[in-house]
């Protein structure tokens, strides 16, 4: 069974690699943003354009400042400072509107990014709820969790920071280029050559550091795995005096990580100084070429022109540097987005069922009538092809007819299982770990679908029943009781969300849980946190029984429900369980044969097959496997 999991997750891994396509991911992400925020984005783009233009006009003002204001003042062709003041005031107006637009687009982007993230998170969770149990079996919880934490975080960085910055950068670059071309073409060519050089260097350095960053992530993963394993087993380490050995391997893995982190950062850190100094080189070149042009009086190039061009060039270099800084963030965010999309593309659980569970009333003439209110009687509502609707009272009879099942096509784990559970009967499964007991119960509520044979519920093929309705009619109590954060009452109410306070107490009383709940600091309102760590195993079990009781299902599945409780505590739990089982069809898987003894039918499973079946008495007399299991200890002693 474990190999099966490994095989599937390997396949999933391959899929992830095959699907990688940053363009498609980007497009899909943009679509999500556009769908909700088209209007916003439109104004964001306008605001960014205006804000960039304001910034640009400031740079261009330099030329005007030198050529149109300062030079005439110097040459005494103009004596008043009023035109200068006017010019500066005009620029001030442009500048401060730029500030306003910057604020506007930042504010709008905040809504867009947070709203998009919320949407992605909500969609991801909503979709996750529709996925089949198989998905949760084959994906490590840690990996799923990291979609909600790491991947969403990097996405937040990208949408709220990188995206507007990149947009602004592109607009800056375009407008700067246009201005440059207008000002002077030869200098623009110098500029373009330098930009090409910068891009090439960036690509080279970023590529090197990227390679080491991948290495670093890999080493980090290995180290994390080791740490996780050793921390889980820390007590064993202590008991076996294994500290030194555990350190040895740690040091080795830690060194690997340190090495790759060093190389990755070494390259990443050198990018900025390299780009900065190419910028200076660029400056010198422009100054030299510009001076030559000005001195030789080519195309009326002026001092102000050079000053403004130099400023433009600095601006351009800075922008290119900024883009290269954002690239890593974008790549990481796209990788995260892709993982999120893979989850969203997982096939949801299919449900072709059309038979529904409804509240019903049995009329005097024996006919079943659907009613809106809860009556304690349920019926299966069965629509037919010809538009006719028939009703059948829900009794809780379950029939397996030659059922075969395997988690994967190749390996069948259940063979030819047939069983007949009448209303109110107790059916027990016994057998070794891995014999297939739990698997059978997982087929009844359709956590998994069978490969061959038939399962019928009240004579209806369970494939025809809507999954939600099927599951509502089945109550389960498992060995590991899972409690949710909330009050004790909330947890019991999980079985029936609209249950009144009286119903909650009644269910707790039925399960023998009322006593201990009343002794809790705040009774039914006591908060349960961290999966009920503050309750004992027995208490948790009692709550699980109460939860099943309030749901009041006709069929119950008890999977090792009492096995982690000691014999003395079990007595109390057992009493609650017995009350719960009254009048219901019950499937029970138990560790202790005493729990199983009074079942109507006991099925002994071995390697996915039923090898013996019958009542306790019959099986003991048969002197087969059951007899051996049951009496083994005494033969030996």
């Amino acid at each position: 069974m474990k190999n099966r999991k490994a095989a599937i997750s390997d396949k999933a891994g391959e899929m992830k690699i095959a699907k990688t396509n940053p363009l498609i991911t980007t497009k899909r992400l943009l679509n999500i943003i556009l769908k909700e925020y088209k209007f916003y984005l439109f104004f964001v783009v306008i605001a960014i354009v205006l804000s960039s233009l304001a910034n640009l006009s400031g740079i261009l003002f330099l030329r005007v400042l030198f050529d149109d204001y300062i030079t005439p003042l110097l040459n005494k062709t103009e004596t008043s400072f009023v035109p200068l003041l006017k010019g500066i005031l005009t620029l001030a107006f442009i500048y401060y509107s730029g500030v306003l637009f910057t604020y506007i687009y930042n504010r709008m982007m905040m809504k867009v990014s947070q709203g998009t993230l919320k949407k992605i998170r909500d969609d991801m969770f909503t979709h996750m709820q529709t996925l089949p149990i198989k998905f949760f079996d084959t994906h490590a919880h840690g990996n799923i969790m990291s979609l909600y934490t790491n991947d969403t975080d990097t996405l937040r960085e990208m949408i709220s920071q990188s995206l507007p910055q990149l947009l602004a950068s592109i607009i800056t670059i375009i407008s700067v280029f246009v201005s440059m071309i207008v000002m002077n073409i030869p200098l623009t060519i110098v500029e373009i050559l330098m930009i090409i050089l910068m891009t090439m260097v960036t690509k080279k350095v970023a590529g090197k550091s990227g390679k080491h960053f991948m290495e670093q992530q890999k080493n980090l993963g290995i180290l994390n795995g080791y740490i996780e394993e050793m921390m889980e087993g820390q007590k064993v380490v202590k008991v076996f005096n294994y500290e030194e050995e555990s350190k040895e391997r740690f040091v080795q893995l830690n060194n690997n990580l340190r090495q790759s982190a060093y190389h990755a950062n070494k390259f990443a850190n050198s990018l900025m100084p390299i780009l900065g100094n190419i910028g200076y080189l660029n400056f010198v070149l422009v100054a030299v070429v510009g001076s030559l042009l000005a001195i030789n009086d080519v195309s009326g190039f002026t001092l102000g022109g050079i000053a403004a061009f130099l400023q433009l060039s600095r601006n351009l270099n800075g922008t290119v540097g900024q883009i290269s800084n954002q690239i890593n963030a974008v790549i990481m965010a796209l990788a995260g987005a892709e993982r999120i999309f893979i989850l969203m593309d997982e096939e949801p659980e299919t449900d072709d069922g059309y038979v529904k569970l409804v509240n019903a009333k049995i009329q005097d003439n024996g006919e079943i009538k659907e009613v809106p209110e809860r009556t304690g009687v349920w019926a299966w509502k069965h629509p037919h092809n010809d538009g006719r609707v028939s009703y059948k009272q829900m009794l809780g009879e379950v029939v397996f007819d030659n059922v075969d099942f395997g988690y994967s096509e190749e390996k069948t784990v259940l063979h030819n299982i047939s069983l007949y559970a009448k209303q109110g009967q107790k059916i027990a499964f016994v057998g070794a770990t891995g014999a297939g007991k739990t698997t059978i119960t997982n087929l009844i509520n359709r956590f998994y679908d069978i490969q061959d044979g038939k399962i019928k519920y009240d004579d209806i093929n369970i494939n025809k029943i809507k999954k939600a309705d099927l599951r509502k009619s089945l109550g389960i109590v498992l060995q590991d009781t899972h409690l949710f954060t909330g009050t004790v009452a909330d947890n019991i109410r999980y079985g029936k969300l609209d249950a009144t306070e009286e119903e909650v107490v009644a269910a707790a009383k039925l399960a023998n849980a009322d006593m201990f709940i009343r002794h809790l600091p705040e009774g039914y309102q006591t908060m349960i946190t961290g999966d009920g760590g503050n309750l004992s195993q027995g208490q948790r079990q009692l709550l699980a029984i109460a939860r099943a009781a309030i749901a009041d299902p006709p069929v119950l599945i008890l999977d090792e429900a009492t096995s982690s409780i000691d014999t003395r505590t079990e007595k109390i739990v057992q009493e609650g369980m017995d009350k719960l089982m009254e009048g219901r069809t019950v499937f029970v898987i138990a560790h202790r044969l005493s729990t199983v003894k009074n079942s109507d039918v006991i099925m002994v499973l071995e390697q996915g097959r039923v090898i013996e079946r019958g009542s306790h008495k019959e099986l003991i007399e048969k002197k087969g496997k059951y007899h051996q299991l049951y009496t083994g200890a005494f033969e030996l002693s």
Binding site: I70, L73, V236, F240, R471, G475
Partner: protein, 578 residues
């Protein structure tokens, strides 16, 4: 705390110092360049002196090359120092955890320790690199640029001072307003993550009770809260960019006015004005960087605190001076033992336990959940220290032994046992690194494990997955017993170690242990009477007290708890199956 953590820079101190030194050199070059630019424009371009343009251009390229070299070197040393520091820190934490006693371990959750070793260290590493690179650069750039501007024009320097004051105040108040909101955002984040985690572990219940929509509703509510808090925090953060722009633009406007006036009155040159523009952007950038460091520190602080917590945690179980290095025999004596996990006399988990166990005896322990069975046996290999009284092995108080010696002689199979990724052989060698092939097979025979190992295609070289997930519960238990046996201990403790093994195999294990290692004291905690009824003596525990201590027959006669358990299990003809 910071001092303690900073100590882990260790052998990377050189790199940690060299990096800022090179940064200072780089900054000096960076500051000279705009000055050179000014001259180039004023004298070279302005006067049409091409020779000067070439000359100063060459000098500029030279200085820029130096700046490049210094920059790359400082980046390299910063990378070395920060990755080395992080490595040392991880090692420090990990080593210290290895020294933890069980009591220390109980204080931290496994996931908490993992987070400290991974995410927290990474956060500190990033902050550290940031600090040695930027925390030096920014103030120096700021001061140097200020000095140069002052040199060029006092009035301009005054404008800059005004800008610095304005921005410093504005950025500070933005951070101060945003920070508490971010703290709340992260709290809410934790809640959201916890609910996803809960949903994942409980997915079978969610599906079985058809509560998918209910869960989605819960999630959306939590997600909406985060959205709202985020907007609140970001409301301040989005002021950052416009405020910066405002300061920058205002400076440019004032400089233009001032510059024009001074150029006309011949107290400033065109090149100098250009340089002042450059310095103004350097100053603003430095301020921005300083505010980033500030934010980084705020993020890294809780991580540092969590790391520090583990680093200062000291084990309370230490060797006394001149410890005993030899365990004479496997006799065990409990004398008036009191024990409390909390270390409080008024909240005892074990109360006045008195027991005498002879070397080589087999002792069973029976008792309900919470009766302190595990607690009792954990005192024998000194996994915890007694709160009162004493535990003696071979006539010597366990606190007087060398810890390693003691634990080598007391082998314990834990209730929550773990196998590690690696082959079966490697796992078994935890018990004895130098165990021969024969010894390993022998131990597996005793533990009734050889039978199933032989059915594996790769036998003893079969690879065990992390946590031993590819063997069944019963197989895992038998492997852990074999591992404990390989130690050849004087005392063997099995804490409910055969619960997943079928009755027959369980009995075979008991029998093999009795016959093959008769001189080893065997202590067996069990749920089933059948597992212990053959023992020389049985301890019945109830609520932290010894309720009975005697043979099976004696206890059946005079111990009501034992009788009750026996009846529920045996008279009801109940045994267990695997």
């Amino acid at each position: 705390m910071i001092k303690k953590i900073a100590g882990y820079v260790g052998e990377y101190k050189k790199a940690a110092i060299l990096s800022p030194v090179f940064i200072i050199l780089e900054v000096i070059a960076d500051i000279i360049i705009p000055y050179l630019m000014a001259n180039m424009i004023d004298i070279g371009v302005g006067m049409g002196d091409m020779e000067y343009v070439y000359k100063s251009g060459l000098i500029m390229v030279g200085v820029s090359m130096l700046a490049l070299i210094f920059g790359v070197l400082s980046g390299r040393y910063a990378a070395r120092a920060s990755s080395g520091f992080a490595g040392n820190l991880r090692k420090g934490i990990y080593y210290n955890i290895q020294e933890f006693s069980f009591a220390n371990m109980d204080k931290y959750s496994t996931s908490g320790l993992i987070t400290r070793l991974t995410t927290d260290v990474t956060n500190v590493q990033n902050a550290f690199q940031m600090i040695i690179r930027v925390a030096v650069r920014a103030p120096i750039m700021l001061v140097a640029a200020m000095i140069m501007s002052f040199y060029i024009s006092r009035q301009a320097a005054l404008i800059f001072l005004g800008t610095i004051a304005f921005l410093g105040f504005a950025l500070y108040s933005i951070i101060m307003h945003a920070h508490p909101n971010f703290v709340k955002v992260f709290e809410k984040y934790d809640i959201l993550n916890a609910s996803v985690q809960e949903n994942l572990t409980g997915i079978r219940f969610v599906k079985a009770y058809v509560r998918e929509e209910h869960e989605v509703k819960k999630f959306k509510k939590a997600s909406e809260v985060i959205y709202q808090y985020f907007l609140k925090a970001l409301n301040y953060v989005i002021l950052n960019a416009p405020v910066m722009q405002f300061a920058m633009y205002t400076t440019v406007l004032l400089l233009s006015w001032l510059g024009a006036k001074q150029i006309v009155s011949d107290t400033m040159t065109t090149g100098q004005l250009m340089t002042l523009f450059t310095y103004s952007s350097i100053i603003l950038n430095s301020l921005m960087m300083l505010s980033m460091i500030f934010v980084m520190m705020i993020i890294a602080r809780p991580a540092m605190e969590r790391i520090g917590e583990v680093l200062v945690e000291k084990s309370d179980l230490t060797n006394r001076e001149n410890p005993v290095y030899e365990v004479k025999d496997g006799s065990i004596v409990f004398e008036h033992v009191n024990f409390s996990y909390a270390g409080k006399e008024d909240n005892l988990n074990l109360e006045n336990v008195n027991l005498t166990i002879r070397s080589g005896e087999t002792i069973g322990i029976i008792g309900g959940t919470g009766s302190a069975k595990t607690t009792l046996v954990q005192l024998i290999p000194r996994l915890y220290d007694v709160t009162g009284g004493s535990v003696k092995i071979g006539g010597v108080d366990v606190r007087d032994y060398d810890l390693k010696t003691l634990r080598d002689q007391v082998s314990m199979v834990l209730q929550k046992n773990v196998l590690f990724s690696g082959t079966i052989k490697e796992n078994l060698r935890w018990g004895n690194k130098y165990a021969s092939e024969e010894e390993i097979i022998e131990a597996c025979k005793l533990a009734q494990a050889s039978e199933f190992i032989d059915t594996f295609p790769q036998k003893y070289d079969t690879y065990i997955e992390q946590g031993g997930t590819n063997v069944s519960g019963g197989q895992k238990q038998r492997l852990t017993i074999a591992r404990a046996l390989l130690k050849k201990p004087k005392i063997l403790i099995m804490d409910d170690s055969t619960s997943a093994v079928d009755t027959k195999t369980d009995a075979l294990i008991q029998k093999a242990l009795k016959e093959s290692i008769p001189n080893t004291t065997k202590i067996i905690i069990a749920q089933r009477i059948s597992s212990v009824q053959e023992a020389d003596k049985i301890i019945v525990l109830d609520d932290g007290r010894v309720h009975g201590f005697g043979t099976h027959e004696e206890l059946l006669k005079n111990n009501d708890i034992y009788k009750e358990v026996f009846e529920s299990q045996v008279k009801g003809a109940d045994t267990d199956e695997e």
